[in-house]
């Protein structure tokens, strides 16, 4: 009986996790404009890979900051971006805070694609619903528009965010 209960709980957690994953993925909308990219042209498969991997990175970032765990960041972020996200999660854990990034829309534009294709710089005009919670209390809830400069580099099987830097305006 106890065994059966454990199996039911395991399946329920699995299903809930899958539903939550789908919900989070579908809530990140990405558009990419490669018209003015240079000096290297962005091929269509690269374009698709960047949209996929940048979207995944934001999904993972949202999950890390919602559940206060750095595990989702593995594989999507490296370098400076990874360092500050780790610090943010640690800070939230200490302060008992969580952040929710909902209804994300990202309008990306390629600023620079290196001649050898080893780094791409993007400009992201992102808008999302940001909610910051202290325990169960909502202390901040706003629809936010942020402008990011993004550096991504190719990894073994995906593009990885190396720099994610917000600015007042462009």
């Amino acid at each position: 009986m106890n065994q059966l209960f454990r199996i039911v709980v395991f399946v329920a957690v699995l299903v809930a996790g899958t539903i939550s994953l789908k919900a989070a993925d579908s809530s990140v909308k990405i558009q990419l404009d490669t018209n003015k990219s240079g000096p290297r042209a962005v091929e269509s498969r690269t374009e698709q890979a960047i949209m996929r991997d940048y979207g995944t990175a934001w999904t993972m970032m949202a999950r890390a900051l919602e559940f206060n765990t750095i595990e989702p960041l593995e594989g999507s972020f490296v370098g400076a971006a990874r360092t500050w996200l780790n610090d943010s999660v640690a800070g939230q854990q200490r302060a008992g805070l969580t952040s929710n990034y909902r209804e994300q829309n990202h309008k990306l534009r390629v600023l620079f694609y290196a001649p050898e294709g080893d780094v791409i710089e993007l400009r992201d005009t992102a808008d999302f619903q940001l909610q910051i919670m202290d325990g169960a209390k909502v202390i901040y809830s706003e629809h936010v528009v942020r402008h990011y400069t993004v550096l991504m580099t190719p990894g073994a099987d995906r593009w990885i965010v190396r720099q994610l830097q917000a600015h007042p305006e462009f």
């Binding site: 610090d87 943010s88 302060a95 805070l97 620079f112 202390i139 901040y140 400069t149 600015h167």
Partner: protein
């Protein structure tokens, strides 16, 4: 009437409370790593939250007093949300911008390049401040490349969106090409190994020995006179009455050598890449 007055009084008290609630004043723009302060109005205790790149904190404060943000609190460029809560929460947003360049990331490709190739070498320089924020203000990057004492490239560009780059032809001589990117007093050095290009021509000589024919090339050079790298394959062919014999030989110290055991008169030729060498005719062994 009395009810209306009471209602108005309640609304007025609520509005008065809202008006007297704390206000948050944040700096307009902060340079990364520079200490700054957040000020509040009102009196009494409150909770101040700071949420930004690399920081999430919660601190009990006294309203009306300045709250100092230390250098380490604002080291990452980006948007920071400050929230001050009593019964109600008020928020304000400020931005931290990158400081001046302190590091230079310099990517150069390729690591080995044949000489005399157009647009064969490229470099990308990205200036970062001491906190690893990408510096987006335009800065001048100088690129210089030298091969031995010879200056191959000298070019300055202004970064755009934090990136400066160049593309250039490779030099004429095999050897190390040193490329330096400089921003103010910062510099970063990379090396590219320039190797000989494809062989320009092949000269072959052959002589009979008791056991067959020894064939070797003269030193194989590209069109700029550089010795072709060791390991480049030369294919020797010997055509005779018994058919054609072919053997591949790698170049060692500029010369490729092979031995063919074919009797009778022979026509020997050599090829490497798209280059064909001379033909050597050997008569029948006496």
């Amino acid at each position: 009437m009395r009810r209306t007055l009471l209602g108005c009084a309640v609304v007025a008290m609520y509005l008065a409370e809202l008006c007297s609630a704390q206000e948050v004043h944040v700096p307009a723009l902060v340079s990364a790593g520079n200490e700054t302060a957040i000020s509040t109005t009102g009196s009494g205790k409150a909770t101040l939250y700071l949420s930004g790149p690399g920081i999430s904190s919660k601190t009990e404060i006294n309203l009306g007093e300045k709250f100092i943000l230390h250098s380490e609190d604002v080291r990452n460029a980006g948007e920071y949300v400050t929230i001050v809560c009593t019964d109600v929460c008020r928020s304000a947003v400020f931005h931290v911008r990158p400081s001046k360049p302190a590091y230079l990331t310099f990517l150069v490709h390729p690591s080995r390049v044949p000489v005399g190739q157009g647009d064969a070498v490229s470099g990308v320089a990205l200036p970062f401040d001491e906190f690893h924020n990408l510096v987006l203000d335009r800065v001048k990057v100088s690129f210089q490349s030298t091969a031995g004492d010879l200056r191959i490239l000298s070019q300055s560009v202004l970064t755009q969106d934090g990136v400066g780059w160049f593309r250039a032809a490779s030099g004429k001589s095999a050897g190390k090409l040193q490329i330096v990117a400089t921003v103010d007093s910062l510099s970063s050095v990379r090396a590219v190994q320039q190797v000989a290009s494809d062989p320009c021509n092949l000269r072959t000589k052959a002589h009979r020995t008791p056991k067959g024919v020894d064939i070797e090339t003269e030193p194989v050079r590209d069109c700029s006179g550089n010795l072709v790298p060791d390991g480049t394959i030369v294919t020797f062919s010997a055509a005779g009455p018994g058919g054609r014999n072919t053997v591949d030989a790698p170049i060692k110290q500029g010369i490729a050598r092979a031995h063919i055991q074919t009797p009778g008169s022979l026509v020997i030729s050599a090829a490497s890449g798209t280059v064909m060498g001379n033909e050597v005719r050997l008569g029948e062994q006496p």
